[in-house]
């Protein structure tokens, strides 16, 4: 019985697809085949202006959002009332790559999938649909938002379909503040009379001098000079990425790519980086590096930061932010951290702001089992519209912001909650919960009324600084931390964006090679840093030999091919 019914369904669908194809004769044949059985839906809804009948879609994201309130927040309710869509979100807990692999294999797909680099697994499994025609037909706002960046949405040279609508990066993003570089507590620079912090030596001296004056905190616990965050992937952020950022190379993941020849090098092989790690080794020998750096887990690291005893960090603000928030909540503002563009020596430029151009790649995809892809794309299109963008970034008018003489202003009490009670505010208002779900404009882009789309613009950022922070910035003649860093226009845009977000084909040998190299690096780098200074060269030589044995050259070669393919994909037609 069931089998029979199934067959009749297939026949019916085929008939409807055929009917649709006949109906829109102008379309090329791809439209029908790509959308498969779902095409029938687009036929039914295609002409309706705004279908807002309630519809729940499941949504999976690799990035957990602890403040997700099931769209019952104020912004969420507004979105639902405009689009009829309610998202039922599921976030990856623990290792997102593994979770994505499981979902891709299970065949039981969420309706909307945000799987970052793991999207290749979904594409290989045929789990996500080509969005080219859906965007063309139903999403004018998305098209407008991406503008001439649309070429960057294509998947690969072999398969030029659009599977992913990029949502992790803002379009035309301008950074107004810096969150990386090297960090020093405000009390340190204040005490030392605001010395120039430009090289690792300056950084080291500041810590050294302060520690000599104040070896312990007021409770008698020893102050810690510099601690690193080396738990699992945080290793990249706090230990290995700074090696290239301080030696004049841009962030291309684990590889350095020559801008002219596109020649690829495993970045640890660069001689400059060896010197960076030699400096960390020296810090350890001097007793300035926290002994537990490579043993502590992430929560211990955050607890340490929150204790206020750590003078210096090499990390990103979002990574140590929880610890600093605790300090701010206690009113210990002078224990907060400033960001300094530290490099190995004066000859290098700090490369945090090396522009990548628009970073497509990470974003949202519509699954092949989505009940209504047209509604899904219209939902995303709403988020991309001016109305939607203002809503997700600013909240509800009259509640989270007011318009005074065509200027959007956040009332002081709302802003106060936003900064000091951030988590609860996000849960209630929903501001910040939806930006990364749909396509969005970057900071610094203005809407038709001349206001910024996002709430990150210079005046607003400065308004968020506390008095101590303002004082320190003023002493360095800067308004935001970014003023201290080399600017985007000092670098040449890389035509491949960034190597770390180039998707790797599922069956490529790179995956295994990379894993092997990572295992070696994560083992040897801590060893080299903790070795006695006389032993450093020996450990380093062994490390290099081990890399060769693990076939690092093959990995570089394969990665080079991917980079060339990316350049071709993004530049050519």
């Amino acid at each position: 019985m069931t089998r029979k019914r199934k067959w009749s369904g297939v026949v019916l669908t085929t008939a409807m697809v055929a009917g649709l194809l006949a109906g829109c004769g102008g379309n090329d044949n791809n439209a029908g085949t790509n959308n498969g059985g779902n095409a029938s839906n687009s036929g039914a809804n295609g002409n309706a202006t705004a279908d807002t009948t309630p519809l729940t879609m499941s949504y999976y994201s690799e990035d957990p959002n602890p403040n997700w309130a099931g769209m019952q927040d104020e912004v969420g309710k507004q979105i639902t009332s405009k689009t009829g869509i309610t998202l039922e979100a599921e976030f990856a807990v623990g290792d997102p790559v593994q979770k994505s692999a499981l979902i891709a294999t299970s065949g039981d797909y969420p309706d909307l999938i945000a799987a970052k680099n793991s999207i290749n697994k979904f594409v290989d499994a045929g789990a996500v649909i080509d969005l080219t025609d859906l965007i063309e037909e139903h999403a004018p706002n998305i098209k407008k938002l991406y503008g001439d960046q649309m070429a960057r949405l294509r998947y690969s040279n072999e398969d030029k379909s659009i599977y992913v609508i990029p949502t992790n990066a803002g379009v035309n993003q301008t950074y107004f503040n810096a969150g990386g570089g090297f960090e020093l507590q405000h009390r340190v620079v204040k005490e030392l009379g605001y010395p120039t912090i430009r090289t690792v030596k300056d950084f080291e001296n500041a810590i050294k001098q302060y520690l000599a004056k104040y070896p312990t905190d007021e409770n008698g616990n020893p102050n810690i000079g510099l601690t690193l965050n080396a738990d699992d992937w945080h290793m990249y952020i706090s230990v290995t990425n700074p090696a290239f950022l301080t030696t004049g190379a841009p962030d291309d993941g684990e590889y350095y790519i020559d801008p002219k020849t596109y020649e690829v090098t495993y970045h640890f092989k660069r001689p400059e980086e060896k010197e960076y790690f030699r400096w960390l080794n020296h810090m350890n020998a001097e007793g300035l590096l926290d002994k537990e750096s490579f043993v502590q887990k992430y929560d211990q690291y955050k607890a340490k930061v929150a204790s206020g005893r750590v003078l210096g960090l090499i990390d990103q603000d979002w990574d140590y932010g929880d610890g600093e928030k605790a300090l701010k909540a206690e009113g210990k503002f002078e224990y907060g951290y400033g960001h300094y563009p530290v490099t190995l020596s004066e000859e290098f430029k700090e490369t945090s702001f090396w522009p990548t151009g628009f970073m497509s790649g990470y974003g949202i995809a519509i699954s092949s089992t989505n009940p209504d892809p047209v509604r899904a794309i219209k939902f995303l299109d709403y988020l991309a519209s001016e109305e939607g963008q203002v809503l997700v970034n600013w909240g509800v008018e009259g509640k989270h912001y007011n318009v005074e003489d065509t200027k959007r202003v956040i009332p002081a009490d709302v802003n106060n909650r936003k900064v000091n009670d951030a988590a609860n505010f996000q849960k209630e208002s929903g501001i910040g919960n939806y930006t990364m779900i749909g396509p969005h404009y970057g900071d610094g882009v203005k809407d038709s009324t001349g206001n910024y789309f996002t709430t990150n613009f210079p005046e607003q950022i400065v308004a968020g600084f506390n008095d101590v922070e303002k004082e320190v910035l003023a002493a360095y003649k800067a308004t935001t931390w970014k003023d201290l860093f080399p600017k985007e226009d000092e670098f040449e845009v890389k035509p491949w964006g960034a190597a770390w977000n180039i998707p790797v084909p599922g069956d490529s040998e790179i995956t295994i090679l990379d894993e092997k190299l990572k295992t070696i690096t994560w083992k040897r780098i801590p060893e080299a840093i903790l070795a006695t200074p006389e032993n450093f060269d020996k450990v380093w030589d062994d490390y290099m030999k081990e890399l060769d044995a693990a076939n690092v050259e093959k990995a570089e070669e394969l990665r080079g091919e991917l980079v060339k393919a990316r350049v071709e994909l993004w530049s050519g037609e």
Partner: protein, 326 residues
């Protein structure tokens, strides 16, 4: 079973035997019916998935939308390629060494400590104290490894860790010792954490076995003037011998599959050469890279080694102690 059927002289052997089986079967039909769900359970969850082993001989690609037949057989067959890759990978031998080392240490500590603890508890005459001691000792069993690992790392920390503070106070060391950063300590730390967590729980089964020993035996021994130690040696331990042997044989069968939670949670990059275990390796290189065939090959290897270990342990114990599970 002998007791139920009773003993009868076998007459016409072959014929008799099968008819006796059916008679027993009928007599015990309720027992058979009760065991049926579990037989089905084992079949469904342990035998049916065995067809998945075919993946180890393929270059498996998930095809969730294809028909079941295609999903299994419309794959690229590669023979023993996956195994070849496995056995030529240095990392594999490293993780195998770590796995076996930590299993052996866990096996020895996991038997000796609970047995000793059970014997000691058994000798305690104050019931209230016995109960309290037992409860406290098995509570950690219910604590998740995440929490246990957090406690262990914090205790051994150089930054106000309890162990280091104690050793410094006692004057044994001059400055905090980095336990978690030393490769040679790692196996010991894992074993010790395991003992702390599981001792109380593992004790329960031995205590139950001891409760089954007839008190007449002890009385008789006491009349003969046996000391407490003599009683333990000649009555308690032989009384739980078959329990020990059966548990031991089964644990040996599981030597290679020890999971990875504790190693994963307690390790860090500095000790990774001693912390990586087989299951974690299978997870990283199999599941995380969507290389399901490779993961399956590791699993097949695991099972084969497990079966060999199980049978040899069984054979050896059969010879030495006349006790076995088969």
């Amino acid at each position: 079973m002998e007791a139920v059927t009773g003993k009868k002289e076998p007459k016409e052997r072959g014929n008799r035997k099968s008819s006796r089986f059916w008679r027993t079967f009928l007599q015990q039909k309720y027992l058979y019916m009760m065991s049926l769900p579990f037989v089905i359970w084992v079949f469904v969850f342990s035998y049916v998935p065995l067809w998945g082993w075919t993946m180890a001989f393929q270059k498996y690609k998930p095809m969730p939308t294809a028909s079941l037949w295609d999903r299994v057989f419309d794959q690229k067959w590669v023979g023993f390629d996956q195994f070849q890759r496995l056995f030529t990978d240095d990392q594999f031998y490293l993780v195998l060494r770590n796995t076996l080392a930590m299993s052996f240490m866990g096996l020895i500590a996991g038997f000796v400590v609970p047995i000793v603890f059970a014997v000691l508890l058994n000798e305690v005459k104050n019931i209230a104290f016995k109960r309290v001691a037992q409860t406290i000792s098995y509570l950690p069993h219910f604590v998740s490894w995440v929490v246990v690992a957090g406690i262990v790392i914090k205790m051994l920390s150089t930054d106000n860790g309890a162990v280091n503070d104690l050793l410094m106070w006692l004057g044994i060391i001059d400055e905090p010792y980095q336990f978690m950063a030393k490769e040679k300590w790692f196996w010991g730390i894992v074993t010790a954490a395991d003992v702390w967590k599981e001792t109380g729980w593992n004790t329960i089964i031995y205590l139950a076995a001891m409760a089954g020993i007839s008190s007449e035996l002890y009385e008789a021994a006491r009349v003969d003037g046996a000391s407490r130690l003599r009683q333990i040696w000649h009555i308690t331990l032989p009384g739980i011998r078959s329990t020990i042997v059966i548990l031991l044989i089964m644990s040996i069968g599981h030597l290679v599959s020890i999971g990875f939670e504790k190693q994963f949670l307690l390790s860090n990059n500095l000790v990774s050469d001693y912390a990586q275990v087989l299951d974690l390796y299978a997870l990283q290189y199999g599941l995380q890279m969507s290389n399901f065939s490779y993961g399956t090959a590791i699993n097949v290897f695991n099972s084969v080694v497990g079966i060999i270990l199980l049978f040899s342990a069984n054979g050896i114990f059969k010879k030495i102690t006349k006790e076995s599970i088969m």
